[in-house]
Subunit: 459 residues, 2 copies
Amino acid sequence: MSDDVKIFLNEEDIPKQWYNIVPDLPNQPPPPLGPDGKPIKPEMLSKVFPMNLIEQEVSQERWIDIPEEILEILYRWRPTPLRRARYLEKYLDTPARIYYKDESFSPPGSHKPNTAVAQAWYNKEFGIKKLTTETGAGQWGSALAFSCKLLGLGCKVYMVRISFDQKPLRKNMMQIWDANCIPSPSNETKVGREVLEKTPDTPGSLGIAIAEAIEEAISDESGETRYSLGSVLNHVLLHQTIIGLEAKKQLKIAGESNPDIVIGCCGGGSNFAGLSFPFLYDKINGQEMTIIPTEPTACPTMTRAPYSYDFGDSAGQTPLLAMYTLGHSFVPPPIHAGGLRYHGMAPLVSQGIKDGLLEPRSLDQVKCYESALLWARTEGYICAPETSHAIACVIDEAKKAKEEGKEKVILFNYSGHGLMDLAGYEKFLSNELVDFSLPEEDLKKSLKSIEGLPKPNNK
Amino acid sequence: MSDDVKIFLNEEDIPKQWYNIVPDLPNQPPPPLGPDGKPIKPEMLSKVFPMNLIEQEVSQERWIDIPEEILEILYRWRPTPLRRARYLEKYLDTPARIYYKDESFSPPGSHKPNTAVAQAWYNKEFGIKKLTTETGAGQWGSALAFSCKLLGLGCKVYMVRISFDQKPLRKNMMQIWDANCIPSPSNETKVGREVLEKTPDTPGSLGIAIAEAIEEAISDESGETRYSLGSVLNHVLLHQTIIGLEAKKQLKIAGESNPDIVIGCCGGGSNFAGLSFPFLYDKINGQEMTIIPTEPTACPTMTRAPYSYDFGDSAGQTPLLAMYTLGHSFVPPPIHAGGLRYHGMAPLVSQGIKDGLLEPRSLDQVKCYESALLWARTEGYICAPETSHAIACVIDEAKKAKEEGKEKVILFNYSGHGLMDLAGYEKFLSNELVDFSLPEEDLKKSLKSIEGLPKPNNK
């Protein structure tokens, strides 16, 4: 029984190229638009991102080489193991075989450093000395802090003030990795000062933090500072495909030809896309497969929102992206899965949904915590609240396989551990957690913020 | 450069037997004594531990088979990787090759479940339904909670009250794994009620918590409850030798014949012994090797205390053990390495020190945090405060190798991650941490508690 509990790859078998799904999509996503409503040109982003990453953002190449220096850093924890959830299977008495790609063993504890390392490296290569970013609960900020330290870049993280005050653990992590982590809004930017003047007691928001991080990057007159984003954009998803490429090799070692079902939780889309896009390639090419991005009922971007152009931030400063969106004014309820509280969805994931290739599903957080607890008590590991949104769906599918008597192969992305988020478990165990399914009137209200914005006219 | 950053073993290469060092020791440790001052008989412990573990405690067999059912559980994270600290080596510009056995990837995050799983399994095999234990900071309690849940045993953890109140994370972990974790002193035992009556505001102590856990175990009239200890005893150290046995195989794969230096931090002795005893066998048989157990200057059991009989708990209820001891009334200063705040030392480790086979060293916590920070900023991972006491010594030895121009092979035990202990790092980064080297007068005072106790008269 033990022989396939963990499937490792040798270091020499790590993928040497990332997979870019763009040229393989049946329909191309509409281009990002500038303030004038016209497609933005790459150079318009050059004060925000370095040109080598902008080139990746718009690339039509299917395969992009991973620089050896990036692989050297990833080797610290990659290739990650593919594991089989034998104990959960046994508990559920299901004929399904459940595999999970374990991204929790990176130093910051999630899949995030796959792109953080790559972004830091490309910035360094371009001559950049310092990166700025925002962070909510801190998963992304700590991954970027880690990556910048290893590559010798400075790192400034604007952390949403309420998280900065209430969740000191991730802030401590960032400080251990030598990043300058400050609460947002801050007095260090024009945007921050304006907000503080009007509302000195504001808890802050991701939108404000993004605006501060971008302002600091573009206003550095030395030209040596850039901004870094942890999800949503094409190049971020690209860097995460190493997950799915490894998983493909490992499934073969496990003797499986193909997964029947691929599942990942979806906030901005990066961990889901990282695992699923290499498999989506097979689906586009005729392989039968169900690919499910999951989200909270409290933030139902993929299951209840329209497909529209919208801003990536709540302040309306970014280019307009074509995506499923709850509207950039959307304020998500305080669910514990902080990484899934985003109003939009990666344009590439959105395109896949629009084309019927992906079958999104929403789950409420109480059910997700039940699943996380069952996971901890069978498999032994404690998952992140975000990851529990994948596990809850896996359990549903494994039960369905039992009802149908089918030997399905289910693969999902174990995107991170929950050791920095134990407080949510405590609330669940104390029966203090509630569901936050989005009321229809709140959705309508939030969607007003995209009225008047251009509508994408692709297929 | 990447090819030996991580060295894995296949599951089929996991050791199938534990190594018992007792028959190989040049001098036998003196036997534990009962309240009458005479060597205790195994059956006198039968209300505390199951007989199958008591047999292991007194075994003279060199090799003891590991039951397949225990291996099945250990496979979730074992064999653990042996890693090479290439990045720290590079930073130190040392000719030393530094390897570390990474025990941080178990679900509770340390080496502790190696014995917790084994103890739970043997108790279950013996017909026991529930285990009781004490825990300080919570590392051991969470490992036992995890193990009992996977094996279907009940688990009751008496957690020192001040930790219960101030360190909720580990308590949450235990609850996730379904253990009943309560603050000690409690109203659930006679001992606890007596303490609470006299000192209702007491912060508690490990000694009280041990006394409560033992009382609950031995007073269960059904006979289905036993007590479990996470370090110090022979059978606990035995279960940890899987660490060193794996490391031996992995060093060979890395092309190293033998380590020159083996290092582990030492509280009760289990992680240190687990790594080092299989190598100590070679040293006893003529291999040149320096084996260093490290401890805090705040709790200098091995470097400043006498070798004497003493109680294992501060209440004086356990058998008398022959060991280096600061006296059972010793109250350690509030250093962050909670797992190293124990007044005594495992009798087997003590015997090794007495016979000159082990060369203990003490380190102050500020230096240890400096080392932990350097580790996080080079190797990338955040270590436990206990583990930093090994790393600080590793750095000293690597610098010495540089001065001497010698290509030494240094091996140490990375006993656990620090993700549940980030507060200590924050204090260090804020310059709020101080050294707590034990003042001579405090040592003298504490040693009064062993006056009048029998003196071991072995060599």
